[in-house]
């Protein structure tokens, strides 16, 4: 980690830029030898800023629960995590990361009915205007929110999927009850953008944070589309893995 330069007068405060970099370094395992962040004076030298600016950055990370400062000793790393999400034909939320965390949980934020827009209709291979069930869900791993998804299902086949999901907390189980024994991922589109207001609240992010956006189409074993979803992940908590 050589001399890192920081951008000034860009609308992003130095302390926030530095906080982002330190968080990345922690997730990358740069300070794993002693489990501590370098002293404030050292960081101030490395980043070329005042020690108070470093303190602001560390205070923000402490607020997130990533580090904890102990007077006289130093600043300890409390938590580091970046979950790895495999993206394959068998992509599912909980199974993919099940071996990386102690506990996963999905909760239903909202549900309702939509009519298929031209875009949704094309993806799900149904008529525009056809009725759809919309589920908005929040995925947790070890009690921390990691993903926020909106899914659409053709209403004719999955009219009461919201009810079943509310009980089981699992798309896979809901599909099974509705006669879809298995399903596979057809295509996934991945983009990245800044967190919007919903991301900030649901995923507990701070403004300027990044979300990875995955738009996915699932189909049953007869290759009939059953689910189109747009999932938003806190970028500093996850990594997508594509196995070919």
């Amino acid at each position: 980690m050589a001399g890192q330069r920081i951008q000034r007068q860009t609308g992003v405060a130095l302390w926030r830029q530095i906080a982002d970099r330190i968080r990345t370094s922690i997730n990358h395992g740069d300070f794993d030898e002693n489990g501590m962040v370098p002293p404030e004076t050292t960081l101030a030298l490395q980043f070329g800023v005042n020690r108070h600016t470093i303190r602001s950055a560390l205070a923000a990370l402490a607020q997130e629960g990533i580090v904890r400062a102990v007077q006289g000793r130093g600043t300890l790393i409390e938590r580091k995590e970046r979950l790895s999400f495999p993206i394959s034909r068998r992509t599912r939320f909980s199974q993919g990361i099940g071996d990386q965390v102690r506990e996963t949980r999905s909760m239903l934020l909202a549900s309702g009915e939509d009519v298929a827009s031209s875009e949704l209709a094309k993806q799900l291979r149904i008529e525009p205007g056809a009725p759809l069930i919309r589920l908005e869900t929040l995925g947790h791993a070890d009690h921390r929110p990691v993903s926020r998804a909106t899914s659409w299902f053709p209403a004719d086949r999955f009219g009461n999927i919201a009810e079943i999901y509310r009980v089981t907390g699992s798309i896979t189980k809901a599909f099974k009850e509705l006669g879809v024994a298995d399903y596979v991922r057809v295509v996934t589109e991945i983009t990245a953008t800044h967190a919007d207001e919903g991301d900030l609240t649901d995923l507990q992010l701070s403004p300027g944070a990044i979300v990875l956006v995955a738009q996915a189409l699932n189909a049953d074993l007869d290759n009939v589309p059953v689910q189109y979803s747009i999932s938003r992940f806190a970028a500093d908590r996850v990594r997508f893995t594509v196995e070919n």
Copy 2:
């Protein structure tokens, strides 16, 4: 686009948050009817900020070449684009987006020799400390930079790949000359982060911008690793597509 709330005192200036949102809206096609951004006073009302703050946001977008303000008329949308990169066993830079743009070009920024770190050695299935060739390349589409990559190749097989790449401008062609008739993508890891200093200059981004990071392993048809690369894409110019 209902009343959008903006976060204050978070280390990210209001004008930058607003610029990011307007850029997203433009890419999403929200203002496609008349090709213009709403008037400054309207935006000021929508975001609940002063008109001068909106002007700072629009000035930043004008600097990026995304909008152009015309006194007396309004603020015109100059450009919106997001290239789609397919990620599959046959992922290549130019072929994937060839039908989306008129011209693609790759140029060599730098090359050199490295010794394999433990991480690189594991990926390429060679001994740690073994010699590697490092290529740093910049990918353009229609004269705009979109990706910035660092690749490593085992030096014993590909000792003079830099020379050949410099002439041909293509990894695929360089591999062919060195006896690798074909190669496939084994795995791709995708993350997102804030642009660093190199991204800002090479990809012509402004601070706070997002880069999609793809770490990829390519192997020849005998499944022997031939290339490990870390590519950084301007997130507002590309989209990854995973076909399963």
